[in-house]
Amino acid sequence: MPDLQELKKIASQVRRDIVRMVHQCQSGHPGGSLGCTDFFVALYFEAMHHNLPFSMDGKGEDMFFLSNGHISPVWYSVLARSGYFPVEELTTFRKLNSRLQGHPTTHEGLPGVRVASGSLGQGLSVAIGAALAKKMNNDKSLVYVLTGDGELQEGQVWEAMMSATHLKTDNIIVTVDWNGQQIDGATKDVMSLGDLEAKWKAFGWIVLQMNGNKMQEVIDTLVQAKAFCDKGQPVVILMKTEMGAGVDFMMGSHKWHGIAPNDAQLADALGQLEETLGDY
């Protein structure tokens, strides 16, 4: 297991990958990707038990589903840096004939991806299905899923929340990227989510909270979440993040949800992020 400093180094490299990928094709979603970087690194390099080579059915290993598929850059970087596919393939992001589609898909056979996502609100349902299959198989490994907070405006998510409790899906750990931002502005202005903690609790979930940009806190909270599994209730972590975390001019605004940096902005961003594992 890598120590805290090593995880932070990986996160710095992943952030470099993200801004370089998005800059190279001049499209994609850097804001949410940067905000969730520490979570992804903690998940793939510390918390999750996962195997290579990739197997679609995930038998005997933890599975991860990304519901807010638009933050594909962070996932692709972490998958590549974890050994799922060559790091050089990150250069193909969003380009013709690439396995690294704008939004993640199984369609081109990219190792690590188990379902397409992008149209929001669907990932939690899929993850619950996978978790139920694990229960049927007496497979004690876990299912992780990440959703956005704006995504919770989709009705299907609430159907899924209700069903996870009813079906005693206690082998699932949901994380909500609670950055308070969406395309048209602050979530509280676009469509307020209200008291998120109370809402998840009312649906019967164990609710944890963490600062998703503090690596040690992420690791500790994931450990805590795992300890709550197998006790009859599903677990959700409300994860406060800063959209654009790690790149000062991208932070604190929804502006960088879905636009790419120009050459000068790329240089500025890379100047703030140490190259630790070697750029692709």
């Binding site: 059915d57 379902v115 149209s119 299959a133």
Partner: protein, 320 residues
């Protein structure tokens, strides 16, 4: 009646699904059933009772059901989702498109109460667009069996087919005329009656009416060939092209909108391979209404006599 196909009884196609699901579950330990609060309507009780650990009541939440099915399939299960055709398609189109079809998931979307023959509940529930919706999805197999026996056989067969399937069936009691324990081959049409003057291609409930029409045409001295197309996608091009080469005109018959249905698939094939005069027995850009199944089929132009008239009409346009 047709020489090779005698009516042996009457049962709903949804009963064929229920019995087929039980058999599929007995044959394949990975088959899992999901139902959105319509267990009795879908006839899923027998499966649920036999395999309670492999059955999931999802409540009235079809979008979530489709997503859960995608997740179950990801983990190696063979999920069969059950609800009405309306809620199996239009209501959850994006979930099917992204999480099932685009993701290549081995989910069997099983849809009862399709079409006008749902009856008294009326147009809100009588989906007539579902074949079109589903056949447009890349990689989706679309099956619309004609009677109890064929629906049962199809339900068992799709468990062994890798990939997403839309299986469409109906509510009312309906004549049984296909043989028991028939082999069901996805994508292979069935020659019900050979003929020389006109080809009738029918699917689902309308196969029974087309059989009546063949008899009526025979009485008028018209030799009709009848093909039972249970798989609309992939379409059995060979059986259709071979027949058309002989008869040179065609009638398609289905309990669906003219737009997007079997007739459209046949027309697309023929326009590319052998342009042929065609008449459609289908709903003409209209919603349904409340009524009894047979009354509705007659009112909306889907009765046996409509098939006869369509045959007479297309024969006038047949090129020598």
């Amino acid at each position: 009646m047709l020489t090779d196909f005698q009516i042996t009884g009457k049962k709903a196609t949804r009963d064929g699904f229920g019995d087929g699901l039980l058999a599929a579950g007995q044959q394949h330990p990975n088959v899992v059933g999901l139902c959105a609060d319509l267990i009795g309507s879908l006839k899923m009780n027998a499966f649920m009772d036999a395999f309670p650990d492999r059955f999931i009541q999802t409540g009235i939440a079809e979008a979530n059901m489709m997503g859960m099915a995608a997740g179950l399939a990801t983990a190696g299960k063979i999920p069969y989702t059950g609800t009405f055709a309306n809620f199996s398609t239009g209501r959850v189109y994006d979930q099917i498109r992204q999480s099932i079809a685009y993701s290549g998931k081995n989910v069997k979307i099983c849809a009862s109460h399709a079409g006008l023959t749902l009856g008294e509940d009326g147009a809100t529930h009588q989906i007539l667009e579902d074949i079109g919706l589903m056949k447009m999805l890349p990689g989706m197999t679309v099956i619309n069996p004609c009677d109890y026996n064929q629906t049962k056989a199809a339900t068992i067969a799709i468990a062994e087919h890798e990939g997403p399937v839309y299986l469409r069936f109906g509510r009312p009691g309906w004549p049984i005329f296909m043989p028991d324990n028939q082999p069901f081959v996805i994508g292979k049409g069935i020659m019900m009656q050979e003929g020389t003057d006109v080809t009738i291609i029918a699917t689902g409930h309308l196969v029974a009416y087309a059989m009546e029409a063949v008899e009526k045409l025979k009485a008028q001295g018209i030799s009709a060939e009848l093909i039972n197309i249970h798989t609309i996608k992939p379409l059995d091009e060979e059986i259709i092209l071979d027949s058309i080469a002989k008869t040179k005109c065609v009638v398609t018959a289905e309990e669906h909108q003219r737009n997007g249905g079997l007739g459209d698939s046949v027309a697309q094939l023929l326009s590319r391979k052998n342009p042929t005069p065609q008449e459609y027995v289908a709903v003409n850009d209209s919603f349904g209404e409340s009524g009894k199944p047979d009354e509705l089929l007659l009112k909306y132009g889907l009765g046996p006599d409509n098939v006869v008239e369509a045959a007479q009409e297309v024969l006038k346009r047949k090129k020598a």
